[in-house]
């Protein structure tokens, strides 16, 4: 096994035991990037020299017996919305030409302090305003979409071109690409991971979180990211805890909510079957399945758009007036149309959001987690714009991918996506676990318990 193939936890163990040096690991991942990048186009920029320098420092620290923890010497890709001092944050947009970040984002500083090594900046759908990431190809089939908006991060992790990565999630942008590429994604509770220094799409809905190969790896990253920072007005001070799940978890008595409505409607049959099999596996592990009704579903898209559309337009106010032609067409039209939404609609969305949070809290008193599909269908071929469901309903691909994700953005509850198989075309399928605010430990425990019952997943092949 080559070092780039190691999970984060396995690589950390090797580094801690001095059987692997950070230099060897970084070199291996950089070689892998050279091999796969022509096929996947996951990266905006690869910072090879800087990464090798940092790896030598990390190696020196390890030799001196100074070990920073499980991220020591581990290569990470950061979505190119996340500021790193001295490096351009392009947001995969021509409007950001010449940009250079003056300081680290909170999450970049946290990873740096934990010993992680930045290997490069990964592609996003322009300014995170879309579900495709058209620059990047799916790790498993290069003719299919990467998903978005954190497409580069998910594809890099799935291909061995990063040991883990960070993404952002405003309406599924961590969970959608993680699912479409067969890796794990976590949208933490709103307020748990500071967003200072991360380019915003929608302040009300944005989250930053990890994309990794396993649930265990995801937990290790979250432990380094969670914390209070008053420079993010949504940041919440919660007691620092280790998120790593028990290696031999017991699900006896865990109440798993299975939605009767919404999450299994207009879902591909293969996706629904795979997720129901995974839920049955949770039951076999001792969990108790309880039917739940998802509240206020008629208003989910309305609240999501009512918050996101005017906030995104507000963020881009200046450049939309000075260099509108530099935006991609799909993003420009949404930013322009957002100027026409009234304050009344925005305020209704903000108020309805609170109602929805309260209704979800009632459901989450009855169960510990809700288990559901992460997305309604696996990765579609590039260029496909709509999906037609068996009842004749036609839905845009973007609306379909957002549909099962946005409730967690609106309510702020944590949501973990975990691979649960492939469809007949070999494309990954994912289950989503949702929980109470700040109950990430429970989600990670359930996700890890499921993952342990499955064979280890392989990296996407180079083709």
């Amino acid at each position: 096994m080559q070092p780039y193939e190691l999970s984060l936890a396995a690589a950390a163990r090797e580094i801690r035991e001095r059987r692997l040096s950070p230099v060897e690991l970084v070199d291996s991942v950089l070689d892998r990037i050279e091999q796969v990048e022509p096929h996947i186009a996951a990266y905006v920029s690869v910072l090879a020299d800087q990464a090798r320098r940092t790896a030598r420092d990390a190696e020196r620290e390890a030799v001196q017996g100074s070990y920073r923890g499980p991220l020591h010497g581990i290569p990470v890709g950061l979505k190119d919305l996340i500021d790193v001092v001295g490096v351009s944050t392009t947001a995969s947009s021509r409007t950001r030409a010449g940009h250079r970040a003056a300081s680290d984002s909170t999450v970049a500083a946290s990873l740096r302090a934990a010993g992680a090594i930045l290997i490069g900046k990964t592609h996003t759908h322009e300014f995170a305003y879309g579900l495709i990431t058209p620059q990047t190809n799916n790790a498993w089939d290069h003719r299919r979409i990467a998903g978005g908006s954190s497409g580069g991060s998910a594809v890099a992790v799935a291909s061995g071109a990063a040991t883990f990565a960070l993404g952002t999630d405003t309406g599924g942008s961590i969970r959608v690409p993680a699912t479409l590429n067969g890796v794990v994604g976590l949208k933490p509770t709103y307020g748990l991971v500071p967003r200072h220094g991360v380019t915003s799409l929608s302040w009300s809905l944005d989250h930053v979180g990890p994309i990794a190969r396993t649930v265990d790896d995801t937990a290790l990253v979250l432990t380094a990211l969670a914390g209070y920072d008053p420079r993010d007005p949504a940041s919440v001070a919660v007691p620092g805890v280790g998120y790593r799940p028990h290696p031999d978890p017991d699900l006896t008595g865990v109440r798993v909510g299975v939605p009767r409505n919404y999450y299994f409607a207009h879902v591909d049959a293969e996706v629904a079957a795979a997720v129901r099999r995974a839920i049955a596996q949770l039951e076999a592990l001792g969990a108790r399945l309880i039917d739940v009704d998802i509240p206020m579903t008629r208003y989910i898209q309305a609240v999501h758009w009512g918050l996101m559309v005017p906030e995104a337009t507000a963020y881009h106010q200046a450049t939309l007036r000075t260099v509108p032609e530099l935006y991609r067409a799909d993003v420009r039209i949404l930013l322009e149309a957002g100027e026409l939404m009234g304050a009344g609609d925005y305020l209704r969305a903000q108020r309805a959001r609170t109602l929805m949070r309260d209704e979800w809290a009632r459901v989450l008193e009855e169960v510990d987690v809700i288990a559901a599909p992460a997305v309604p269908m696996a990765a579609v071929p590039a260029g496909q714009e709509t999906v037609t469901w068996p009842d004749g309903t036609v839905e845009s691909v973007s609306d379909a991918y957002v549909r099962l994700s946005s409730p967690a953005n609106i309510t702020g509850v944590p949501a973990l996506s975990v691979p649960v198989g492939q469809d007949a075309a070999g494309m990954p399928i994912g289950m989503q676990l949702l929980g109470r605010p700040f109950a990430e430990r429970t989600l990670l425990l359930v996700g890890h318990a499921y993952e342990r019952t499955q064979p280890a997943r392989s990296l996407a092949p180079v083709t």
């Binding site: 500083a109 009300s204 420079r231 309305a302 039209i333 322009e336 026409l340 108020r351």
Partner: protein, 69 residues
Amino acid sequence: MSSAELTPSEAARWAARAGLPLPDDRHAAVAATADHIHSVVAVLRELNLRDTPPAGAFRAEKEKHDAAV
């Protein structure tokens, strides 16, 4: 077209009032997109929001920049 839908020239005028002059060739597309967005968010008018305040992110005290990361 319902009375709530925007004509291309109305979309241009609304955008101009928001400080965003639109080139002529964008009026129709912006009107159509704005109408679609409107059709999605308008359902919120059905809700009885009672005394629920908007979810906001404002604090009276300015943040101190000495937070540990």
